[in-house]
C-alpha cells in the first residue's frame, strides 16, 4: 500500500514530500484504526483541513464499499447453492493459511526480543484459553505498559 500512496501523492500530485508521507505512515501505525485509512486521513488533513481528511478517507473506502457490496450480496444470495457451498468449504483451509502467513509476517516485526515472544504467547493464551474480552486485553496492555514506562523512566532520572 505504501509504495502506491507515495507514487500517487508525492510524484504525481506533489501533495506531500516523500519524507512527510513516511512520517504520516509511521504515525498511522501507532494510532488506532486501519493504517491505510490513518495515512490517507493525515495526508488529506495536512493538504486541506477537515474537508481534505474526509475526502481522502472516503476516497480510500469507496472501492471497498462498491466491490464488497456487490460480491457479498452475490455470496449471501447463493450461499445455499451446492457449488457455492463446496467452493466456500475449499476456501476455508486457504483462508486459515493466508491469515497464518500474515501472522508470521507480523511476528517478524513484533517479535524482536525474548520478552516480545512472551508477550505474544500471553496474548494468545488470554484469548484462546482464558477467553478474556479483546478490549480488556488491549486496554490492559496499554495501561500496564504506560505504568511500567512511567515507573522505569522516572527511576532513571
Amino acid at each position: 500500500m505504501l509504495p502506491m500512496i507515495q507514487r500517487e501523492i508525492t510524484e504525481k500530485h506533489g501533495w506531500a514530500t516523500e519524507e512527510e508521507v513516511l512520517d504520516y505512515y509511521s504515525i498511522g501505525q501507532t494510532t488506532p484504526g486501519i493504517i491505510a485509512i490513518n495515512t490517507a486521513t493525515f495526508i488529506g488533513y495536512k493538504k486541506s483541513g477537515i474537508a481534505g481528511a474526509l475526502a481522502a478517507t472516503l476516497g480510500m473506502v469507496s472501492p471497498s464499499l462498491i466491490i464488497i457490496t456487490a460480491l457479498s450480496s452475490l455470496i449471501i444470495a447463493y450461499r445455499d447453492n451446492e457449488y457455492v457451498t463446496k467452493a466456500l468449504k475449499g476456501i476455508q483451509g486457504a483462508v486459515v493459511a493466508l491469515v497464518a502467513v500474515s501472522i508470521v509476517k507480523m511476528g517478524k516485526k513484533a517479535f524482536t526480543a525474548v520478552s516480545a515472544y512472551i508477550l505474544g504467547i500471553l496474548g494468545f493464551l488470554f484469548l484462546f484459553v482464558l477467553k478474556l474480552p479483546t478490549y480488556a486485553i488491549v486496554l490492559g496492555t496499554i495501561i500496564i505498559s504506560l505504568a511500567y514506562l512511567f515507573i522505569t523512566t522516572r527511576g532513571r532520572r
Binding site: 504515525i27 467452493a87 476456501i91 486459515v96 493466508l98
Partner: protein, 186 residues
Amino acid sequence: MIFLELFINFFFIGLISIGGGLSTIPLMTEILTSKGWMMQMEILDMIAVSEMTPGPIGINMATYAGNKTAGILGGVSATMGLIAPSIIIIVIVAHFYTKYRNNVYVNETMKIIRPVVTGMIAAVCAELAVISLFNIELFRETGLILRLFNPIPILIGVLVFIANYKFKVHPVILIVSSAVIGIILL
C-alpha cells in the same frame, strides 16, 4: 436501530484495533459472533472475500459484515463507524505530530502492544483452524483419530501457506484455485 448499532460497534472496533494488518480481526470476530450477526464459519467467508479484493482488509471486512447484517446501508454504517475514530484521532494528532512521533511512551507502548496483538490474532486463527480443518464432533461420535481431520481443507491449507509464503503467489489466485478444488473434491 440496527444501523446505529453497527456504527457504534464498528467505531469501537476502530478505536481498539492497534498494530495494523489484521488487528481488527479479534474484536470484530468477538462482536460479530456474540451479537449473533455472523457464525464462525461465515467469518471465514468474510476474510476470504476481504483478502481477495482490493482495498484495506479491515475496511473490506467491515463492509462485508455490515452488508451481511443489514444490507447495503448496513455495510456503509459499519464502514463509516470503523473509520470515524481514525479521522478524529488523526486530526488531533496532526497538530502535534512531531512531538507524538518522537514520544517515548507511544513508541515503547507500541513495542509491547504489537506482540500481544499478534498473539491474539494467532488465537483467532487457531479457533478458525479448529472449526474448519478439524471435525471434533465426528471424532467424538466415532472415536477414530483419523476422523478428526478434514484431509482436503488441511491439504489446501498447507499448499496455500507454502505457495503464498515461499513463492509469493497472489491470494486471489490461491483462493480461486481452492474454490475450484473444493467444487471438484468436496
